[in-house]
Symmetry: C2
Subunit: 157 residues, 2 copies
């Protein structure tokens, strides 16, 4: 799948639904508009809250039922950061191979892409008898800034 802008991502998802004989409902529209209207990672609960700002009638159940469709379509990615709830990342359509650095101090998540790392992943996997389907790289790090200044400008609380 070639990189896709947000607008096309939404359209792709609608086609994905149609292809499976699934229907376009106002609730799904609100959810999908929310997902592809942000660059931020979100939880199911946040998605519910934001979607309700667009359409009061969106329920938690519908959010939880739509999320698997979004990940199945390959346009959104589920991420586990070891918390007791999952995060979702709407940027995979635009940047299919990005990785994450999570700041231990402020919990900010920075995305990056590295051609070189992808290449190495492919080489190593091949050597081990696999071809890469997906990759997830999560780095947790400490802010250099925090060490110097005693505080991280991104800290949220």
């Amino acid at each position: 799948m070639p990189p896709l802008d947000k607008q096309s991502a939404k359209q792709k998802f609608m086609e994905f639904l149609a292809g499976k004989g699934l229907r376009t409902t106002s609730q799904r529209q609100a959810i999908v508009d929310t997902v592809f209207g942000t660059d931020k990672h979100f939880t199911a609960e946040q998605l519910l809250e934001w979607s309700r700002e667009r359409d009061q009638s969106v329920s938690r159940a519908t959010v939880y039922r739509t999320l698997p469709l979004l990940t199945e379509s390959g346009l959104v990615r589920e991420m586990d950061f070891g918390k007791d709830y999952k995060f979702y990342d709407p940027n995979y359509a635009e940047h299919p191979n990005h990785s994450h650095i999570i700041c231990q101090d402020c919990e900010k998540i920075v995305e990056f892409e590295s051609e070189k790392i992808s290449k190495l992943e492919n080489e190593i996997s091949q050597k081990l008898g696999f071809s890469v389907a997906t990759q997830r790289l999560q780095i947790t790090g400490t802010c250099e800034e925090l060490k110097k200044l005693g505080a991280c400008k991104n800290r949220m609380n």
Copy 2:
């Protein structure tokens, strides 16, 4: 922390407990012996089962209470593969920077280490203003063997 064999890992953990004023109980011994007596990844439930083979009196609660101590000590690592339960990896003391390839066909997990990838991770993180604390790289892949033979020799069911 320099790479550590399993025997030393157990000892290190005991020292970790002592250092925190925590006690050596028969249940903890059974759990720790189990953890450092295997190379396999395991779930909390499996750890309970295996530990009970050594000491009937081990309870689920004690397993769940010991697991955070093990991860906090840095000798065991918690892993999220997107299932609804967590896996634990007892090989971090011996191989502190290893990554995982998960076979989509048989769910087998292969470990590998790459100096080159570690180096790149450090470079990129530095450029972004972080120093690496931990890294987790998970690749999911398809077995070349499966594609050729129609079956993966590692498939379990």
